[in-house]
Amino acid sequence: MIEICDVVKSFGDTRAVDEVSLMIAPHTICALVGTSGSGKTTLLRMINRLVEPTSGNIRVDGRDVMSVPAYELRRQMGYVIQGHGLFPHWTIARNIATVPSLLGWDRRTIDRRVDELLDLFQLDPATYRNRLPGELSGGQRQRVGVARALAAKPNILLMDEPFGALDPVTRGKAQEELRIIQQKFGTTIVLVTHDMDEATHLGDRIAVLDKGRLLQHGEPADIIANPATDFVRELVGTTDRAFRLLSLATLGEHVESGTADGEPLEATMTLRSAYSELLWSGRKAAPVARDGTVLGIVTLDGLGRLAARP
């Protein structure tokens, strides 16, 4: 649980963060969205005290972050930044082992943990352990960056535009991976992004910031359907909000009864992908299947109703 209460951060005369209060529930992903200069990164950096608030306070699991030494606080949280920030002179294994080493874990436990994480991110330990970051691709470096942040099994993961430097295909995979890992470990994630698609895709809740102020905080569907201000409406985008809404749910949650011909669609597919698939194959309906068993059907009309303003 992260509680942010009336937090202000001033740089000279300007308020980078202006009286923001925000509750982030455990085991959820909260996306902080805004344009550059909105204060979203400053807000994130106040959680691990890379920036100290001018006034107000931040509590993590009930404890004020100012009450523990900054380095100790940071070792308890994962931190991922844009451009990964791996130590170029350390091997992949040593990079991942950064926080466990700082915490004084013994050699064996660290080695085991490193291999475990490399496996988790589908990097063969034997091949990658002893490589330098410079020898990896951008996508692999980014994964190592996330692995390093997760190494000491933190409850909280802070991510600052973690996928910003990746190409769209790699980014999509990295996002998928993050969702799976979050579900597996139940980590609380605070994610800073300027990409509304990423926010709606990953966030359980979205907090929209502009000029240091928190404009709206709610579930993605709610923000898309009822934007609180013109700025939020603009950020959500009016032309494709119906599709954004469709991208929030999977087929499995909206199966209709009936029968249809043709290749079945997977239940894990988002409604948006299913809609596109139906249009592409020129069908009005298609069967929905999970692991080979047909659950029912999905129809263009049904999807159309789901995409309409709630």
């Binding site: 890379l50 931190y79 930044i81 002179h89 926080v99 700082l102 410079g134 390093r148």
Partner: protein
């Protein structure tokens, strides 16, 4: 390194050792530079002893400059030392502006003849390259890397020793290389105020009009400078590889 380069460097090293340890072997060749009746091989002392003392003087002066210059560079790149950056720059620049000969001349009345004025001159002259290069090295550490080090929970000293110093090592070594090569040649001037360096050989040659002495002293100093320069270059290269550049 190309095979030819390696052969050339090895040949240089062999020539240097030979010249220093057994100068009589070159008597015939050096005789070409003498006038009738002059000795062709330096006979006023041991070349080996002079070479060793030359190297020791350079090494101790540069070690002292490195200690102060790197220390200063670290200090002015810490949050509490930033205010001192302009002062340190000015200080190192002044050290460089004074010609070594002038420093020698000014030091003799204060410190007397001998090794000390030479050490002071070399020390002052060596500060700037090391300081500026260390500063460049420490400020060239990519911001995401320092940011990550901080965000992972490294303490300031752990960041300095584990991340900042290793990453700025190639540039620091480059500064050390510049200062050392300059000092190797400058140290020869120290013999004008009675420091025991290879400059003695050259000065003896100049005083008696014996070109063979000048050639011996000159070639040994030049070979030392070239080989030590190459040694530093190789070290820098291996450091660069180690940090994945």
């Amino acid at each position: 390194m190309s095979p030819l380069g390696l052969v050339l460097r090895l040949a240089g090293l062999v020539l240097l050792v030979w010249l220093v340890v057994q100068p009589t072997a070159f008597a015939g060749l050096l005789a070409l530079f003498t006038r009738p009746g002059q000795p062709s091989v330096y006979n006023q002392g041991s070349l080996l002893a002079l070479t060793i003392s030359h190297l020791l003087i350079v090494a101790s002066a540069i070690a002292a400059s490195a200690l102060l210059a790197v220390g200063l560079a670290i200090f002015v790149t810490r949050p509490f030392g930033v205010d001192f950056l302009p002062v340190s720059r000015a200080l190192a620049n002044i050290g460089q502006t004074f010609p070594p000969v002038a420093v020698l001349a000014l030091c003799v009345p204060l410190l007397g003849f001998g090794t000390t004025p030479t050490l002071v001159a070399l020390f002052l002259y060596g500060l700037l390259p090391i300081f500026e290069n260390s500063l460049a090295g420490l400020s060239s550490v990519p911001p995401p890397v320092t940011e990550a080090a901080k965000g992972m929970g490294m303490k300031p000293m752990q960041r300095l020793i584990g991340v900042e110093l290793p990453l700025s090592m190639p540039l620091m070594l480059a500064g050390l290389r510049l200062s050392t090569t300059i000092a190797l040649s400058t140290a020869a001037i120290g013999s004008t105020v009675a420091a025991p360096t290879l400059g003695e050989v050259i000065i003896a040659g100049l005083q008696t009009g014996n070109t063979a002495f000048v050639v011996q002293g000159g070639v040994i100093v030049a070979l030392l400078a070239v080989l030590i320069h190459e040694g530093f270059v190789a070290l820098e290269r291996s450091q660069r590889r180690r940090i994945g550049l």
